[in-house]
Amino acid sequence: MEVVITTFPWEVVLILAPLFGALSCFLWPKSARYLALSTVFVSVLSVVALAIRLITTGSYRHAIGGWRAPLGIELLADGLSLLMLGVTAVVGLAITVYSTGYFPNRQLLRFWPLWLLLLAALNALFLSGDLFNLYVALELTGLAAVALTALSGGRAALISAMRYLFATLLGSMSYLLGVVLIYHSFGSLDIMILAQRVVQSPVVWSAMGLMSAGLALKTALFPLHFWLPPAHASAPAPVSAALSALVVKASFYVLLRLWLEVFPPGQTAMLGELFGALGVAAIFWGGLQALRAGQLKLLIAYSTVMQVGYFFLAFPLAMAAAWCGVLYLLLSHALAKAAMFLAAGNIIYFSGHDRIVDFDRIANQLPMTLAAFALAGVSIMGLPPSGGFVAKWLMVEASLKSGQWWWAFALIIGSLAAAAYVFKVVGHAFTQTTVRGQTNAVPALMEWTALALALTSILLGLVASWPLAWLEIGGMFSCESAR
């Protein structure tokens, strides 16, 4: 049994299973929900098996079909990919289960194949070992995400989806041009090989700029964030959860990989400072807009804009504690933000609207949903005990240790703003409103899924040593000794 687990190419399963699942959901729409559920279960099990394999035997590469690079595709599995795959699997499972309740039986059957396609693309992205494979995966992710955004078919959804499409295509194109330049200079697309070959040069500088700009656009860094709030706010709740929790992480993951492995260290300092400045701007702007938002989903979307700003603060800090912190932030934000959107979905299902001031005693009527939102909010605010707190601690520590205390200041201001808008929602959930509307009962499954996800993000704060230790697989950096 042990031998099977440690030698089977689980990463291939992780990509193929959702692909086949998507196909079968398209071909047999009537049983789409069950097909989707089974596919996601298979994914979760594969991630666990992959984790066991990586922990026991270390990181490794798998050439698909036996064809080696550069013409063949090689998949790379190391600690960083494992953690991203893990969070994708967990959030994916929660969203799938939630959607079986959110989309009643005959409606929106196109959701399932698109959703599984998105999962396949995300998995492929986290397992890619070379730049071009990353491009394909990025494009796939983008297209699937846009299609999901447009799913509900309303005017707002279509328009925001079109804008999102243009943004994502522009981002990918910019990235591809950068890949071209790098390939031309160094003759390889493989990340590991490039890590050794890349040296400073003007061409690399342009490539860095192009790729970073493209990826920053896809990750919605201020001021390139314009497409995100309408898209995330007008999509159906499970889709918004997937978009905020997973899709923006995908492009950031690519940027992180490039930064850590491909971009030459000497040339990245200025870009890092620029990212840091934009990150601070994102924190302020996102926080401000979230406070002003009158609708819950828009508030949560702007919260994502703010948290993306946090991510980019790791670049000017560029030390082990900062990378560990930002990674932990990626994980806990994914869980918490997905939980928040699912909770918002519950509220919309219940009362038909998401106007915050008109929440009529949600605390009494939907206690589990409010608990899910509040717990997720604890992680977003970075209060203990939660994954967000651990991440905030690590990043503040990195900031103070390196003497660049202003990033810590931005982080703290961001947390205060986050507390303000989370408790704005929670506060109104306790009070009564004058206008009473029609309400629908929310299926228990939907409430439990949201709560479970929120609890996971809290749990992440209690078990921090283990995921951070797994980061060492593949030797990217260590979270223990170098601090």
């Binding site: 608990a371 503040v396 103070l400 205060l416 306790f430 009070t431 921090a464």
Partner: protein, 518 residues
Amino acid sequence: MAAGVVGNRRHVFLRIRKMSASATLPLLILGSSLLPGLVIFFLPESKVRIRTALNLSGALLKLVFVGVMAWGVFNGTTYETRLPLIPDLEFVLHADALSLLFVTLSSVLWLVTTVYAIGYLEESPHRSRFFGFFSLCVTATVGVAMAGNLLTFLLFYELLTLVTYPLIVHRGTEVARLAGLTYLRYTIAGGALLMIGTVWLYTLCGTLEFTYGGFVREFASASTNRETLVVIFVLLTAGLGVKAALVPLHGWLPQAMVAPAPVSALLHAVAVVKAGAFGIVRVIYDVFGIEFAANLGVTLPLAILAAVTIVYASVRALFQDDLKRRLAFSTVSQISYITLGVATVGPIAAIGGIVHLVHQGLMKITLFFCAGNLAETLGIHKISEMDGVAHRMPWTMVAFTLGALGMVGVPPLAGFVSKWYLGIGAMAAGQEWIVAILVGSSVLNAAYFLPIIYTAWFKESKGTWPAEQPRGRAETRWTLLLPPLVTALLALGVGLLASAPFSPLDWAQLIAGREYGR
């Protein structure tokens, strides 16, 4: 245990250690309120008996565990729980004399308040939610008490903020929502300051473990200059000072009185404000060390700030007609006695401050219980409505009188003992001005407490009460009557028997001795 080989190092990626008995007891103390709390959340409103049983059994169990731990510590056992939290920093629960003092106080008072809350909230809506958060609140308080390093302290301190918020907004009115917002503004900002100070201290010292005599002097690298340490001290004290209601960070406390009486009683007289004061004691004694802190020159400003708080809050209390608000300002004033005691460099003043943790808790909770009784039974919220109420509710007013006289500092009640030690300690430390503050505040205490007693006992009642409940055999439900009498007797007892072994005073002497005797 899952292990693997990466590079040349063999890593253990998943280790679950077996814990010894002495490591599990602190966790058991936490769990005795955490688990019932979590279960209570899911109970339907109608299951009154189960909920009451869970509440009381949790409280009793906690007392038992605390008793076991106290006995163990007395016999020399070390109780410590260590769990990995962040790489290189652990979650530490540790039982030393100071933690035991606070844990015991919290556990005893939790039991009493649970009984009171069950009575007070009879027939109220959303009791499951209330008691769930109530239990979580005690868990957080006990965690604060037993925290063994600054990180664990911070964790439970912030958790306390989060779980007390739903209790403040429990009633669901617009007033409650606004009070909750004010509470959050203060406490979250305070928490942020505390966090920055903690992380900064960690980057300078590499450790956050509470050690007798403080760890800063030993671990702060030679290149750290004094100004940085002073700034860190200010950050930490400001963060803690919000909960400890140091002027000008006290604004949330009077507004939080909109919460139901059991909440005001336990939380704002005992748990939340004590957590802040306790934190200040920890920072001065076990983080910086009293000598080092005095050296840095931070103790005198803190003492002055505490003195200002004492006087200012007492003056504000004079002008309040709402009974709970007057008690709230009295709390603000009295908590600063603790801060004053530890900021005065000298063992006797320290004893006064530390023992006041217990004494003030007992007396203040009595007062809040009585205020709750008046509100619940007779609809009285203002002092002007209290004319002659002692004839209608004699036992409640007896308890109130005991508590109030104790606050004023009448011997041999508990408050007198604390003030006596503070005064003697101040003179021994050469800070005679503190004695003037103590005398002045006692006068002010008398000025705002004695009229209440006079109004209740000696004035003619107006005949009808604002909202009287039908009278049963006793003046009010026994669940509302018994707790204040118990705590009043305890307040009397700790004063009368202050020189007995194992009294809070004896304990405080032990703690101060450890800190100063090195």
